[in-house]
């Protein structure tokens, strides 16, 4: 009786493993789908010819060279870098002040402030962008200023969330202790809190930069001659033409973002900033 039971049990346990194996297989396929197109871009960027074929018929750096020699694309790349750094810096300062006020200076309603800070994420970016364009009809602002304002808006929710997460990791009593010992709130903030949350603030800054750099929707209406961001430059080029030079540019962008992503992951963890 015991003897004949064994193979049945073995089969049963194999059957129990099957869903797990199927699940892993499915997930592997989804990752292939998720990463495939990005891998294809990087592969195509090394194409030696004009062909967009996959796999590319050889290997060369000519499209990276073409990118460096195209004034339009390098200009847009540089503009996006400057815009991203400015927007991220302003958003980080605003995010820090808001998060600190919500977590440390308010007895109640701190949570409400944090929720309200998420507002730009809850309104379609397309709508924000058109509204700012419309506003320009009544108040004249330089093109760069309106674009910058739009980018600061869409970055601020992430900086508020990022700084809040790292403030929560710092014991509020440290500040109380510093103030008991005679430091003013501002001194305690600058000399106790800021050094402790520096990694979180830096990650918030980097993430905000990535958000600004990848944005299409705000720039769609607010980019103008001389203030064209890289995604908009790519968008208008790709509508008419197809060339591996775009693959080279986007590969540079992908590598930059992967590096920044790894830095943020090391500093505080990506998910804590994204809050999704």
């Amino acid at each position: 009786m015991l003897h004949s039971d064994r193979p049945v049990r073995a089969r049963a346990s194999r059957l129990r493993l099957l869903p797990g194996i199927l699940l892993r297989l499915t997930v592997a396929l989804v990752y292939l789908f998720l990463l495939g197109p990005i891998a294809v871009i990087v592969a195509t960027s090394f194409s030696p010819t004009h062909s967009m074929a996959f796999p590319p018929p050889g290997f060369s750096f000519r499209w990276y060279g073409a990118f460096l020699h195209s004034a339009n694309f390098t200009g847009a790349f540089r503009f996006s870098l400057v815009l991203g750094i400015c927007a991220a810096a302003i958003a980080t300062v605003i995010g820090f002040l808001t998060a600190y006020a919500a977590r440390r200076l308010m007895q109640r309603h701190g949570g409400v402030v944090q929720s309200l800070a998420m507002l730009p994420l809850l309104i379609p970016h397309l709508l924000i962008s058109i509204s700012l364009l419309m506003a320009l009809n009544f108040v004249s602002l330089p093109d760069f200023a309106s674009l910058l304002a739009g980018h600061v808006l869409i970055c601020t929710p992430f900086t508020v969330a990022g700084v809040t997460a790292s403030l929560d990791g710092v014991d509020a009593q440290l500040e109380s202790a510093a103030m008991t010992l005679g430091a003013s709130r501002l001194t305690a903030l600058l000399e106790v809190v800021v050094p402790l949350v520096a990694p979180g603030v830096l990650s918030a800054f980097l993430f905000a930069f990535v958000v600004s750099f990848g944005d299409v929707y705000i720039a769609l209406f607010l980019s103008g001659p001389g203030t064209t961001t890289l995604p908009i430059e790519i968008f208008s080029y790709v509508q008419w033409e197809s060339s591996p030079v775009i693959a080279a540019i986007t590969s540079v962008q992908i590598m930059m973002i992967v590096v920044l992503g790894l830095v943020i992951e090391k500093l505080v963890g990506l998910r804590r900033i994204m809050r999704i």
């Binding site: 499915t26 495939g36 309200l116 309104i123 397309l126 709508l127 775009i246």
Partner: protein, 283 residues
């Protein structure tokens, strides 16, 4: 205490100003224009009317665009749910050492932005792209398929772009479930499939709703992806708003269309708030 209050005002001022001047004021103004009469010269006439909303629903040209948008957004939502659920399940329940890496690989593509990933699909779906080459090599087809400039291309790319927005709410919903519940169902003889269908799935309902609404809204508002992958046949709401603002210059109608997007997004906010409140109560 007085100084702390002053500090609070100073600290809150920049964000408050930013949100009022650059967000609330312009957006409310733009939405209000949706209730005004269209005027070819002054953009709008300060006369209250519901004509723009009426035109959007009754004019077959705009109605078809809205119906196509709803169809593509719905298809994208269902597919992201089907594709995202297994990933979320494994990430929420698995104890693999690779979990951190797998999580990173979901987030990293999100950071590259819509234009990069749309471009990835242009290259992948082209007549000499990976998909057509693979099908030719496997002799499944003999002439390259026309994949670009189709609704399929738009849906596939949108699923790819929006997948992380589905996966994360699902992970939150699945991770907050007590794994003992499934074990209990198992002990009681439910079997794995039944335990999944009757315990895990209903309990992740909130995550499914939040993820779906988020994906649906973002898909319905997409501009770049349908413009680059859909060709002439695919005209979606986002593109229509873009054309109305920049080419047709019918701002009142554009505003009426944009308020549909906003309404969809507000549904999402409402669900999210309700889910959060419930989660707090459970704790």
């Amino acid at each position: 205490m007085q100084s702390s209050r002053k500090l609070l005002i100073v600290f809150m001022a920049p964000a408050t100003l930013l949100y009022i001047v650059f967000l609330l004021a312009p957006v409310s103004f733009f939405l209000a224009i949706g209730l005004m009469q269209y005027d070819a010269i002054d953009l709008y006439q300060p006369v209250l009317t519901l004509a723009n909303f009426g035109r959007m629903v009754l004019d077959p040209f705009y109605r078809d665009i809205i119906l196509l948008t709803l169809k593509i957004a719905a298809l994208t939502t269902v597919l992201t749910l089907l594709v995202g659920y297994p990933v979320a399940y494994l990430l929420a329940r698995g104890r693999s050492a690779w979990r951190g890496v797998l999580m990173f690989l979901v987030v990293a593509p999100l950071m590259t932005g819509e234009i990069v990933r749309t471009y990835g699909w242009i290259v992948t779906l082209g007549s000499e792209g990976l998909v057509n080459r693979a099908l030719l090599v496997l002799s499944i087809i003999h002439t390259p398929l026309q994949l670009l400039n189709t609704q399929i291309a738009v849906v596939v790319a949108l699923v790819h772009i929006l997948l992380p927005f589905m996966i994360f709410p699902l992970i939150s919903a699945l991770a907050s479930q007590d794994p003992d519940l499934v074990r209990a169902a198992d002990t009681l003889g439910a079997g794995r499939l039944r335990a999944f269908v009757e315990v895990t799935l209903p309990l992740s309902r909130t995550g499914i709703m939040i993820g779906s609404l988020l994906v649906f809204t973002l898909a319905a508002g997409a501009v770049v992806t349908p413009a680059l992958l859909g060709g002439k046949d695919v005209q979606m709401l986002g593109q229509m708003i873009y054309d109305l603002v920049l080419h047709t210059l019918n701002w009142p109608l554009a505003s009426a269309c944009a308020s549909i997007l906003l309404a969809l997004q507000l549904c999402f906010v409402f669900l999210q708030v309700r889910a959060n409140r419930r989660a707090v109560r459970r704790r």
